[in-house]
C-alpha cells in the first residue's frame, strides 16, 4: 500500500514536472510581432457560382488574432447591386471580440451570416461578376512596454551601471499598429526624451491614434504626437502615410544610471476592407 502511494506521488510529480501547453501559454508573450483581425468566408458560403433567383448565404469568419480586444466592430458588405444580389442585412455589429490572452490563447472567433437572394441575369448575359467589399471597422488598443537604461550623468564615461541604447527597434506588439522604433535622448539639464515611431503594418488603415497612458517607472511622462493640430495626445493619420511619432519627455531625479520600465498605451480605430466577387451565372 505504501508502495502504491509512493508510485502515485511519484507519477504526479513526474507529470507535474513536464512542460505542457499550459506552461507554454503562461510563458508566451502575445504582445509581440504583427497580428491583426482575420476575415474570411467559409468555403462555399457564398458559393463560387450563384444561379438566378436563388437564396444564398455568406458566412464570414472573424478571428481576433491580436493580443488586444477589438470593440465596436461594424462589418458591412458594400458594392452589390440590389438588382442582382439583395442581402437581408448589409451591416452587422459586434460589441466585443476578445484578443489572445492566457485564458484565450487562440483569440476569439465569431461567425456572422449574411443571407441573400439573387436576381436575374441581364437578358442573355453569360454571367454577372459582382465585385464587392467586406468592410470592417473596430477600435482596439496597443501596449508598449520595455526596460530602458537611463543614465542621467551625461558626461560620466565610467559608470558601473547599465549601458544606454540610443536606438532600439521592435517587430511589433501583437497588433497591426506597432511601435517600431524608440530613440532615447538625454539632455544634460532638461531630462529624458523618448521618441516612439508608430507604424501601421497591417492590411487596413488607422484613422486616429489616441495616447492613453505613458509612464517611465511610476512617473508619468509628458507626451505629444508630432505634427498634431489641436489635441497633442491624439493624431489623425493620412491614408498614404500610416505612421506617427510620439515624443515623451520627463525630468530625471537620479544622478546614476539605472534601468526602468517605459510603458505607453494607445487606442486606435482601424478599418479593413477586403475585395471579393460574387458570380451570378446562367
Amino acid at each position: 500500500m505504501k508502495l502504491l502511494v509512493l508510485y502515485v506521488i511519484l507519477f504526479v510529480f513526474i507529470v507535474g514536472c513536464t512542460s505542457g501547453a499550459g506552461e507554454k501559454a503562461i510563458n508566451y508573450n502575445f504582445k509581440q510581432g504583427l497580428a491583426e483581425m482575420k476575415f474570411s468566408f467559409l468555403s462555399n458560403a457564398p458559393p463560387e457560382k450563384i444561379y438566378p433567383d436563388s437564396a444564398f448565404t455568406m458566412v464570414l469568419e472573424i478571428e481576433n488574432q491580436m493580443a488586444y480586444d477589438a470593440t465596436n466592430l461594424d462589418i458591412s458588405i458594400l458594392g452589390l447591386d440590389e438588382k442582382y444580389f439583395r442581402l437581408a442585412e448589409t451591416e452587422q455589429h459586434l460589441d466585443l471580440l476578445a484578443g489572445r490572452s492566457l485564458t484565450l490563447p487562440a483569440g476569439e472567433k465569431q461567425f456572422i451570416e449574411f443571407t441573400g437572394q439573387s436576381g436575374q441575369l441581364f437578358q442573355n448575359a453569360e454571367e454577372y461578376p459582382a465585385p464587392y467589399f467586406v468592410h470592417a471597422t473596430y477600435i482596439s488598443a496597443l501596449d508598449f512596454t520595455d526596460t530602458l537604461c537611463i543614465n542621467p550623468s551625461f558626461y560620466t564615461v565610467y559608470d558601473a551601471g547599465c549601458k544606454v541604447q540610443d536606438r532600439k527597434t521592435y517587430s511589433g506588439q501583437g497588433a497591426p499598429l506597432a511601435v517600431m522604433e524608440l530613440e532615447e535622448i538625454i539632455h544634460p539639464h532638461r531630462g529624458l526624451e523618448l521618441r516612439l515611431k508608430l507604424q501601421n503594418r497591417g492590411r487596413g488603415k488607422v484613422h486616429f491614434i489616441n495616447l492613453e497612458r505613458a509612464q517611465l517607472g511610476s512617473q508619468e511622462m509628458n507626451c505629444e504626437f508630432q505634427n498634431t493640430a489641436d489635441n497633442p495626445r491624439s493624431i489623425e493619420l493620412r491614408m498614404e502615410q500610416q505612421e506617427a511619432t510620439l515624443i515623451c519627455r520627463t525630468f530625471l531625479r537620479d544622478q546614476r544610471s539605472y534601468t526602468t520600465t517605459a510603458a505607453v498605451s494607445f487606442n486606435y480605430d482601424y478599418e479593413v476592407r477586403q475585395e471579393h466577387t460574387l458570380r451570378l451565372v446562367k
Binding site: D81, E91, F122, Q123, A125, E127, P129, F133, K205, R238
Partner: protein, 622 residues
Amino acid sequence: MPGEQTRPPWANLEAFDKEERRREEQEKRKRPDEESRTTNSDDRDQPPAKSRATTSPTTPSSGSGLLNSINDPGFYLFIIGLLTFIFNEKFNNVTLAVLLGTIFMFYTAIFIFKGKGIIITAIFWVWYVFFGGVTDPTALMYIILPITLVGMLAHGVYNAISRRGTFLEGSSEELLGLIPILFFFLDLGLLPFLTKLFNFPITPLLDNFIRFTPWWALLGLFTTRKEGTIISLAKIVGVAYIFCLLTFGVAPEAYAASTSLLPGPEQFIEAKQELEQQLPQRENPFISNLACIFSVNYATVQVCVEQRQEISELRYICEKVEQQEPDTPAFEQCLAEQREKKQQKLVQGINDPTITEFTTAEFTISESIFPKTAYQGITNYPTTFTVDNPRQQQFQVKFSCRFEQGTEKIAGEIIGDNPITIQDASPAGRTVICKPGSVLQGRYKLVYEAELQGLQTTSRLQRLFIGTKDEVWKESWVPVITSRHFPSHRYSSIGPAEFARINFEFGNPTENPIIEGTGNLFLVSTIENVGTGKLAAVKSYHLQLDGFDIEDQSCLQGTTVTLPPVQMVRKSILPLTSCQIRGVPPELQQPENYLYREFEAALRYDYIISRSIDINIEKVSS
C-alpha cells in the same frame, strides 16, 4: 556558304540594288566610249558640218536626258499607279480593280523585281483570281504558306539546275513575290476590310490611309533605281505626302478579334465602299498642307490644316447631303449648324463582354449553286438568310431585292413568304429567291435587302453614389471602388454588339462614374450603329432613370427620331438630347459608404441588312 544561309530575305534586295547600280555604272562607263566611237566614225564618213547635225540625236540633250532619267520601271508604276488611283476612285468597279491589281502585281514582279517572286505571284493569282480563291478561315495558313513554299522551292531548284546561283539564294529571292501580293490586297481594300472585321475605330490616321493612299504609286516610287532630278523630286513629294497623311491620328485599338473568311475581291471593294461612305468627305490632307504652307506662317500650319479639313467636311455635308446651294444664307446657316453638331459630345458605348451571343442576321450566297452567269429570263437568284436570335425577340423581316446597272435600278420580286416573323432562338436559315422584275441583259449588281422591323436592344450603365463625403474618405475610397467596379476604366454604357444601341452616361462630368452630392448632374445619350447594315428607323427610346429629377422628361424617352442619311451607316453616332439631372433619388443621396447601381436604356428600331453580288446575264441565242 554558311554566311549566306543566315542572310535575311531583304538582304537580297540590297544585293539586288548593288548589282543594278554596278551594271548601270558599267553602262555609263561604256557609253562615252561608244559615243566617241560613233562620233569618230561619223567624222570619218561625213563632212564636219553635217556630222554635227546627224550626231545631235545621240548626244545627250536636255529632253532626252529627262526621258532617260525617268526611264525606270518603278517610276512608270508610280505614274500609272497615281493615274489609276485618281480615276479608279470614280469607278469602284470590282472587275476593273482586280484587272488593274493583276497588271500592277505582275508588272512589279517582272519589271521591278526582275522576275524574282514571279512564281509565288503567279500561283497566287491563279488561285485567288482565276479560281476565285477559297473561303476557308485557315486559308492564309493552308494556302498562302504552301504557295510561298512551292514558289521558293521551284525558284531554288531552278537556280541550282541552271547554275545561276545557290538554291538558298533562289528560294529567298522568291519571297519578294509576297510584296506585290500585299500591295494587291492593300489596293483592293485590305485596310477597310480589316477595319470592318476587327471593329477598329476609324481614327483620322486610318481614315487617311484608307482614302488617300495610292499604294501602287508609292511602291513604284520607292522602288525606282535611277537617280534623277525628277525621281528625287517625286520621292520628296512622296515622303511629304506620307508625312501629311501621318499628320493626323493615332494608332487604332482593336476592340475585339474574330475569325472570318478570307474574302474575295468583292468583299474588299464592298468594305472599302461601305467605309468610305461613312467617312466624312474631307479635303486630301496633302492639299490642305500645301495650301496652308504657302498661305500662313509656319507656326499656324497645323491649325490651318485642321480648319481646312473641318471646313471641307462641313461643306460636303451641306452641299451633298443637305442639298444646300453653296454661298447662300441657307448654306452658311447649315455650316453653322453642322459645326455646332460636331462640337457636341458624342457618347460612344462599349460592347458588353458578358453577352457573347447576340442577335445576328446575314445573307449567305452559295458559290456552288448561285448562278453568277445566267441566261435571260430563265433564272431566279437564291440566297440564304440566317437569323440568330438568342434573346428570342419577336420581329419581322421584310425582304427585297434589286438589280443595279450603273444608275439604273430594277426592282426584283421575292418569291415566298414576305415578310416573315422571327421569334425562335435557334439559328434559322431561310431561302430567299429573287426574281428579276423585267428582262435583263449584261452585268448587274444584285442587291438583297432584309429590313428587320421592331428590334430592341437594351444597354446598361453603372454608377457609384457616394453622397457627401470628406476628402479623407474620398482619398481612401474613390480610387479603390472605381478601379474595382470599372476595371477597364471605361465609364459609358455597355450593350450587346448587335445592329444598333443606345449609349448613355450621366454624372458631372458625364464620364465620371462617381456621383457625388444630391444632384446637378448631366445626362447625354446617343444612338450608335454598331452593325454592318443601315439603321432604317428609330421607333422609340427609353432611359430607365426612375426617381431622378430630370429637367426635361423628353431626355428620358422619345418616339420616332429623324435619321440623317449619312449617319445611318456603320459606326455612325447620332446624338440624342442632353439635359440636366436636378436630383438623384432620396435613397441614393446619402449612403453611409457608397452604393453601386445599374440603369437601363432600351432602343426600338428597324435595321437593314444587305448583301450584293455581281451577276452576268447573257442573251439566249435562238
